[in-house]
C-alpha cells in the first residue's frame, strides 16, 4: 500500500545567521492537493519554499522534510530537483550569455536521465518547447535570448511557469508568483498552473495576497505567522483573511 503523502514537514526549525525564521513548522501535503501558505512579510513563507528546495545558507536546526517517503534534507538542490521538486522563484535570476535553449535543454535532459529516459532529440525538444511557449504567450525569440536577461517582471514569471510546464515536476513550490503581475499576466500564469495540476502531483503556493487564489483554487489555506502555522482551513479562510487582515490571526 503506497502512501498518498507528497510532502511532510515535521517540526521544522530553521535559522539564517543567528535569526530563527521557522519555529517548529508542521505541514502535510497529499498528492492531488493544492495548499496555499499565506502570511505577512517576514513570517517565513519564502524560507519554507527555499528550504524545501535546498537553497544554501539556511541552517536546519531541527525537524525533517519527508518527500515521497524520504527525508531529503541531506540532498543537494539539484538532486531534489531531479527527484521532482520545482521552485518557481519570486525573483528569477538573470544568466547573461546563457541561452534559454541551452539552459532548458540541459535541464530537461538532466531530469529525464534521472528517470531513466534518453536525452530528447533536438527536434522533439523544439516541438515541446514551442507548445509550452505558446501556453504562456512568450515571444518566439525567447529561445535565443539569455535566460531572463532584460525580461520584464511579468516575462520572468511567465518563464517560470513555462519551465514548470516543461519539466512537469511532482511538487511545485510557487514563491510569490503573483507579485508584480498585471491582470493579464496573472491570468496566463494561473492558467499554466491549472493546466499542470493533476491527481498525481501537488502544489504549494506561497503568497501574501488572496488575489491569485481567485484563479487557482486551493484545497487548504494555512496562515503562517512568526515561523509557525497559526491557522488552517479551506479556501474561505483566504477570503476571511483578505477582509480582516493578518492582525486577526496574530
Amino acid at each position: 500500500m503506497t502512501s498518498n503523502a507528497m510532502l511532510e514537514v515535521n517540526n521544522l526549525v530553521v535559522s539564517i545567521a543567528d535569526t530563527r525564521i521557522l519555529n517548529g513548522l508542521n505541514l502535510k501535503v497529499n498528492k492531488g492537493e493544492i495548499h496555499a501558505i499565506m502570511g505577512p512579510n517576514g513570517s517565513g513563507k519564502s524560507t519554507l519554499s527555499n528550504v524545501i528546495a535546498g537553497k544554501p545558507g539556511y541552517i536546519v536546526e531541527e525537524g525533517e522534510i519527508i518527500y515521497q517517503g524520504e527525508n531529503i534534507l541531506e540532498y543537494e538542490p539539484d538532486v531534489r530537483a531531479r527527484k521532482g521538486i520545482f521552485l518557481a522563484f519570486q525573483y528569477p535570476v538573470e544568466l547573461p550569455g546563457v541561452r534559454t535553449w541551452q539552459f532548458l535543454k540541459t535541464s530537461v535532459d538532466a531530469i529525464r536521465k534521472e528517470n531513466g529516459q534518453d536525452e530528447l532529440k533536438v527536434r522533439e525538444f523544439d516541438k515541446i518547447f514551442e507548445e509550452k511557449r505558446k501556453l504562456v504567450e512568450m515571444a518566439p525569440d525567447l529561445i535565443k535570448r539569455s535566460v531572463n536577461e532584460g525580461f520584464s517582471g511579468g516575462e520572468k514569471k511567465r518563464n517560470e511557469i513555462l519551465q514548470l510546464s516543461l519539466l512537469n515536476p511532482k511538487l511545485a513550490l510557487l514563491d510569490e508568483t503573483d507579485s508584480g503581475l498585471d491582470i493579464d499576466a496573472l491570468r496566463i500564469v494561473s492558467e499554466g498552473v491549472n493546466e499542470f495540476k493533476n491527481s498525481d502531483n501537488a502544489i504549494l503556493i506561497v503568497t501574501h495576497y488572496q488575489r491569485i487564489l481567485n484563479y487557482i483554487n486551493p484545497d487548504y489555506v494555512h496562515v503562517l505567522v512568526d515561523g509557525e502555522i497559526v491557522k488552517s482551513g479551506d479556501s474561505t479562510l483566504a477570503l476571511e483573511l483578505e477582509e480582516k487582515g493578518y492582525e486577526w490571526v496574530k
Binding site: D78, P92, V93
Partner: protein, 488 residues
Amino acid sequence: MTSQDNVISRKTKIEDKKYKWGFDFNIESDVAPRGLNEDTVRFISAKKNEPDWMLEWRLRAFNLWLQQGEEAAPKWAEISFEDINYQDIIYYAAPKSKNDAPESLDDVDPELIESFNKLGIPLAEQKKLTGVAIDAVLDSVSVATTYKDKLEEAGVIFCPISEAVQKHPDLIKKYLGSVVPYSDNFYATLNSAVFSDGSFVYVPPGVRCPIELMTYFRINEVDTGQFERTLIIADEGSYVSYLEGCTAPMRKTHQLHAAVVELVALKDAEIKYSTLQNWYPGDKDGNGGVYNFVTKRGAARGENSKISWTQVETGSAITWKYPSVILQGDNSVGEFYSVALVNNYQQADTGTKMIHIGKNTKSTIIAKGISAGKAQNTYRGQVSIMPNADNARNFTQCDSLLIGDECGAHTVPYIEVKNPTAQMGHEATTSKVNDDQLFYLQQRGIDLEEANYMVINGFCRGIFKELPFEFAMEASQLLRVSLEGTVG
C-alpha cells in the same frame, strides 16, 4: 568604472586540472646541443638550408640579444618567475624521420599522424571534409600541411616559413620583421635569432581564401624551447581567417615558448586571427608549465583594412602577450577579443595595443578574465590616438570574474590621446560567480559543476561567438576542462 561584488559563500576546492593533452610522442628527434651561442644560430640556419641573407638577419638579432644581456627582459608585467637559464635550453629539435620535409600527407610518419589524432587534430581525411587546411608544427619543425591543392588553385600560399624562405624570398625579405623588428623587445630578438619554424601565408589581391587556415603547435621534447615565427600577408582586397592551437606534454620543468606573429593587411584586406592557447599550465602546486612570451602584432597598413584578434588563453604557467594592431590606413579597423582563464598558480598578463595613426580608424577591445585557485590575471591594454588620427574611435570593455577568494584580477589601461576629435569609451566590471545563479540552475536539476560551467561559459559567450564555429565548440570544451574542480 562600475564594480559589482556578489558574495560567494561556497567553499573553493582547488584540484589539479586534468590535463588530458599531457602524453609524450614517441618519436626520435634530431636536436641541437643545449645552450645558445653563435654556433647554435648557425646550426639552425644550416638545418634549414637557409640563404646567407637569412643567416645574417639571424646573427644581427643574436648579436643584439647578446649585447643587451638578460637585463633587457621586460619587467613591467604583473608576473613573477624564476630566472630563465638560456644556456640550459635546447633551441632546435626535429622529429628524426622528418629530416626531409614531407611532400604530402602520405610521406608523414604514421605514428606522428596518430599522435596528432590523439590531440584531436586529424590531419587527414576527416578534416579535409570540414574544409580546414592545417599546418602542424611539432617542436621546431612543420610536419605536414594539408589541403595544398585547393589553396594553390586560389593562389594562396600556405606553407612552413622555412619553405617560404626558400621559395618566396622576395616576400620574406619585404615583410619579415616589418611589423615586429628584431630589435622590438627581448623575446622578439631571441626569436629572430633562433626561430625554427612556423607558418607563412600570402593571399593575393582580390582573393577570399576559400578555407580556414590552421596551425597546430606542439612542444614535445624535454627542455626544448619553441620559437615559432608566423607571417601572414593579405594583399589588396583579400580575406583570410587563420587559426592556431597549441598544446604541450606535462613536464616537471618549465619550458620556454617565445613566438613572434606578424600580420600585414593591405588596402581593403581583412585578416581574422584566432588562437586557442592550451600549453601545459603546470600542476596544482605551480611546478612545471610553459612560459609563454609572445609578440603578436598586426599592421592594418592599407585604407579600409581590418585586423581582428580573437584569443582563448587557458594554458601556460605564464602568459605574456599583447596582440596589437597598428591602424595606419585611413578607415582601418582593429579588434581584440580575449578570454584568459587562470587557475592554481597560473599567471596571465595579457591585453592589446591599438595604435591609431590613420583617420577615421576604429578599434574595439573586449577582454574577459577568469581567475580561480591562487592565480593572477592582469588585463594590460594601451590605446594611443596619434595627432593625425582624426575622428578615431575606441571602445574598451574589461570584465573580470573571480572564483574563490585567493585569486586576483587586475586591469591596467593606458590611454594616450593626441587628437581632440577622438571618441573613447571604457567600461570595466569585476564580479564573482553568483550563488543565486548557481542555485537557480541547480534547482532545475543541473549539478553544481555544470552550473558553474554554464555561468562562466555565458560570461565568455560574446568572445566565443567571434570564433569560427568548430573552434568555438573546442573553446567551450577547453573551458570546461580548465574549470574542473574549481567549485565544490
